[in-house]
Symmetry: C2
Subunit: 313 residues, 2 copies
């Protein structure tokens, strides 16, 4: 790839766009881009926003953008689309909803499609964030639709993870609690003008109190907002800033940085190893084994063993 | 593993439970279980149920169980928990909600935790379904929380995929539409006694009409239900049966069966290849590279290359 490193470092939109497309569209099996950017990483604050569809994540991110733009900060948003493996598409709705920031040079919003591989989505989101980090964006927001495994992985690639719920989520808080507790630094009850907001608030609070966080760990907070009515946004951004300070003071930002590199290295190695294994010959061998008319007569374990043991392909 | 194949084939609960635990708790790197069960697969009808948290999936599955139990069918439910990588836990809420079927010998409900690997979750859900299939269960329901990548993978492992929404999901239908359209055979608008149900219904209908499915493809349907009020359940089960007949008549059941085996074979090979690569020596090498005080001085691409090129570890 022809990486325009100077263009990225000088925050040229074209250079950034091209690098993002590279991340999205290539197998990215070498780490050329990572190595080029590496010395320029570590300044940006990375916020992951996750939660069920319908929680109003995009509207909330829209408000966060406005808040930080008013403070002169530059902000990038990466919308990660878990459905895209099926379509190659991106989250149209989000683009529309955050559209009014498109003319603002201090805001860069990008929907990321993925190309099927599982670990790949989280990895590519991280690569994209690295580009924005190197380009001098102050704040990077990963936004995901859903609360599944990949979304949680993406959230883990952030310094602060915000889990957005709505008053009606009450039923599910119980079910999801263990997993959410593990990743949420801040809970947001959005659409808090709706019925049940106080109940949901109390429910999460009591969940958090039961937990007795270890000393030195951040005690997660619950914040009520209404993105549409522009309420609670200052509470939210204040909590975000407090969390970031906490991370800084406890050396966690540095540890997160290290963990993300290790994740990236390990994922790249895995991709390479599998890429080397799946030669055309082996892929053909598997296809042929499956193409037999009498699929009932094959033994799957035999096919696995044959492919693993054949060194000649 | 000591697989009690006869126990499974005779549908002994203890044998099934032990096989499920095996699937859940081992790396399952050989395909001993798959090969043992293989000749006994293909009878069960596999239904995937997915949709956002709060859509009432568990209540709906509960009604489906009751309906088919009244017809004398045996039914297994696999609740796949995407949050469990963080906790090892399972979906407590679902167990509680479907608890009244626990005493029924014709019903087997199992929450599946996973152990971190991405492809692993979908793969293990499929292994679990194979056990129930071999044990003679007529219907197997995969239930997932969320609409993320892994959940969609799990849904793809089913013959029929049901996407459950609520009237309030309207906002998100637009955003998720491409991905959902690709996988949903049936859309259910649950909690249809709530405001906005007809609007959501019309929205999905018009989406489906715009699509002009190719001849020979199943035209997805929309069904309104209220699981709590026990309304629309017969409509839903009728549509499920129609879809299954359609699949049978078009040879799709057989193709699905083949695709699932191929997915399983490929995933097992991938796991084996990575397992062979990550020797203790290589894992230590990566840890040591990351443990350096001056993480800023490393070049990630160099570490990748060193690990990939060193054949001696």
């Amino acid at each position: 790839m022809d990486i325009d490193l100077n263009g990225i470092l000088n925050s040229k939109r074209l250079a950034i766009s091209r690098a993002l497309s590279f991340v999205e569209n290539t197998d990215n099996l070498d780490m050329e881009l990572t190595d080029a950017l590496f010395k320029h990483l570590g300044r940006a604050y990375r916020i992951g926003v996750t939660g069920p569809p319908g929680a109003g994540k995009s509207s909330l991110v829209d408000r966060i953008i406005t808040y930080w733009r008013d403070q002169g900060k530059r902000i990038a948003v990466i919308s990660v689309d878990p459905t895209s493996p099926f379509t190659g598409g991106a989250i149209l709705g989000d683009r529309v909803r955050m559209g009014r920031h498109y003319a603002d040079k201090g805001v860069f919003i990008r929907s990321m499609a993925t190309r099927g591989s599982h670990g790949g989505l989280a990895l590519r989101a991280q690569d994209a964030a690295d580009i924005f980090d190197a380009a001098g964006y102050d704040i990077i927001v990963y936004e995901t639709v859903g609360v599944g495994q990949v979304e949680l992985d993406v959230a883990k690639a952030a310094d602060t993870t915000l889990v957005v719920l709505v008053p009606e989520s009450g039923d599910d808080i119980q079910a999801m609690k263990a997993g959410l507790m593990e990743i949420a630094d801040l809970f947001v009850i959005n659409k808090a003008d709706r019925q049940g907001a106080n109940q949901a608030f109390a429910q999460i609070q009591s969940m958090l109190e039961m937990r007795h966080p270890e000393k030195g760990l951040w005690p997660p907070q619950v914040i009520k907002t209404s993105a549409l009515q522009d309420e609670g946004i200052t509470d939210l951004t204040t909590a975000l800033i407090e969390h970031r300070q906490f991370l800084d003071e406890h050396g966690i930002i540095r540890q997160n940085f290290r963990d993300r590199i290790q994740f990236k290295i390990q994922s790249h190695i895995d991709e390479n190893v599998l890429h080397s294994f799946w030669t055309q010959g082996r892929a053909r061998q598997l296809d042929q084994a499956m193409a037999t008319e009498k699929v009932r007569n094959i033994l799957p374990g035999k096919i696995v063993a044959a492919l693993l043991n054949d060194e000649t392909k």
